[in-house]
Amino acid sequence: MNTFLTLFTKEFREAWRSLKFVWMPLLFIVLGIMDPLTNYFMEDILGAVGNLPEGFMLTMPELHPIDVLSASTSQFQSIGLVVLVATIASAISRERQNGMATLLYVRPISFTALFMSKWAVASLLGIVSGVAGYAGSLYYTTLLYGSVEYGAFMKMLGTYCIWILFVTAVTLACSAMFNTAISMTLAILLLPFGLMIDSIIGSFWSLSPWKLSAYGVQFISGGTSEYYTATVALTLALMISAVLLGILFSKRNAATAKI
């Protein structure tokens, strides 16, 4: 536990001083408020810059809060997710490759504590960013499109946090297993790219961690998929497996730390 706290302090200081806790939430806030604003002002924007012919008529669809939150979610799940994954995919591998880890690995540390400290800070970063993004989105959604039920919003947010925990666990496990280049590629293939695959051919199955955030958004319309509980359980199971793999491989690969 002491080792965990010591390493957590170090991880947190690094993330804090490199301003990750500033720019990552800012990015998510920008992504979150983009959709409610652009959709609301679409007519004006088109009128101002669209160079539309005289008498051109445009019918804008009437958007509901759920549509807007769903659009924001897909922003987080594309750009936001790629940035988050890319930021943490080197967390373990880079330290091994440049030799910074050597000075820690020669000490009697527990690799469980080492992995957990990284996972805790990465998850904290992801969750703070996700919450900030949704808060921004919610603010303009309620202002411009109508109110959202508090309980349903919290359920959606909670579901998204589970997804973030899954993302950070899988990404760090990749980082523990491979060098930075491979870990980055693999994590991006598994997570943002996996989401894309799931959205293209995912209609053939219902149980998939990649569907979790979509199920979360459905809470806003009053009820979610019947597969929600099973999907959460599956996601948590995969997350725990990723954590175990990550711990195992950070220990096994310790000898590859550059001296």
Binding site: N2, T9, R13, T102, L104, R107, I109
Partner: protein
């Protein structure tokens, strides 16, 4: 006392360290020397516990988890750029089992000892090579290890930095057992109780500097003559392996060849004007070349 027995490391078919055994007495300094690729760093990484040996064992008398009792300074220590020297050293202390309440104090103590008291609140990203080496030293000794392992501690430093680190090591030698690798033989000559020669992964020679010297040194003498002509003439007459530079002759006496006594008798008989006769001690470098070239 630290006992290393039959340490072996193979990577695939390649044997990098083969059957290396030695003991380190408490509070002594041992130099691990050998040409590049001899297995010095691999041996040190096995001693740190970072690399598991293929076979063999490392024991510190009376210690269970040897990682607690080891301080390690790699050749090019890398630090977390966002942390200050004090934060890093304090973390190192805690991770090595120094109680949290004492860690900061201990960190300040060793940083002052290595001469970083002015810079301890600065981020390590601003540190020069010499400062990094000193910080590396501080993190290696903050938990008062029984065994201090240093990989080429001064090779990358300028003469001033080298002197500072050598002085620190000499002070540390009073309190802890030191094993360091080096290919700079002057440094090994300056501070060593025991020499370990590695070549192609094997321990080819060991012992104190004097022991190794006696073993590898054939007695050599330098004779200075009044003129160069005398020197050249003596060299050709003497039937010894002799090299002439200026007006001095280096004579090497190999086994059954004449002793000092006989050499002097010959000199007297030759009637040349001799100005100086001295015995030359081989430098570690010459011994090194001999051992490495065996």
């Amino acid at each position: 006392m630290i006992t290393v027995s039959n340490l072996t490391k193979t990577f695939g078919a390649q044997t990098v360290v083969s059957n290396v055994s030695f003991t380190l007495e408490t509070n002594t300094a041992t130099a691990l020397i050998g040409p590049n690729g001899a297995g010095k760093t691999t041996t040190l990484s096995m001693l740190t516990g970072l690399l598991a040996p293929t076979s063999g064992s490392i024991e510190i008398a009376g210690v269970k988890d040897i990682r607690r009792e080891i301080g390690f300074l790699p050749q090019y220590p890398q630090f977390y750029p966002w942390l200050t020297a004090l934060e890093f050293t304090e973390m190192a202390a805690k991770l090595s089992g120094v109680p949290a309440s004492a860690a900061k104090k201990e960190a300040e103590r060793v940083l002052t000892f290595v001469g970083l008291e002015e810079a301890m609140k600065k981020k390590t990203v601003t540190f020069s090579g010499g400062m990094k080496q000193r910080l590396g030293m501080a993190q290696a000794i903050v938990h008062k290890p029984k065994l201090l392992l240093l990989d080429e501690p001064v090779s990358a430093l300028d003469p001033v930095g080298r002197r500072e680190i050598m002085n620190l090591l000499k002070e540390l030698q009073q309190q802890t057992t030191i094993l360091y690798s080096t290919h700079i033989l002057n440094d090994a000559e300056e501070m060593t109780d025991q020499l370990l020669f590695l070549r192609k992964g094997e321990l080819v020679e060991s012992g104190s500097l004097t022991e190794v010297r006696t073993k590898f040194e054939s007695p050599r003498y330098r004779i200075e003559f009044a003129t160069q002509e005398d020197a050249l003439q003596f060299a050709s007459q003497s039937q010894l392996s002799a090299t002439v530079t200026g007006s001095s002759v280096y004579v090497e006496i190999i086994e059954e060849r004449p002793t000092m006594q006989q050499l002097l008798e010959r000199l007297v008989a030759s009637k040349f004007a001799v100005t100086k006769v001295e015995r030359v001690t081989a430098s570690l470098e010459e011994i090194f070349m001999k051992v490495a070239g065996q």
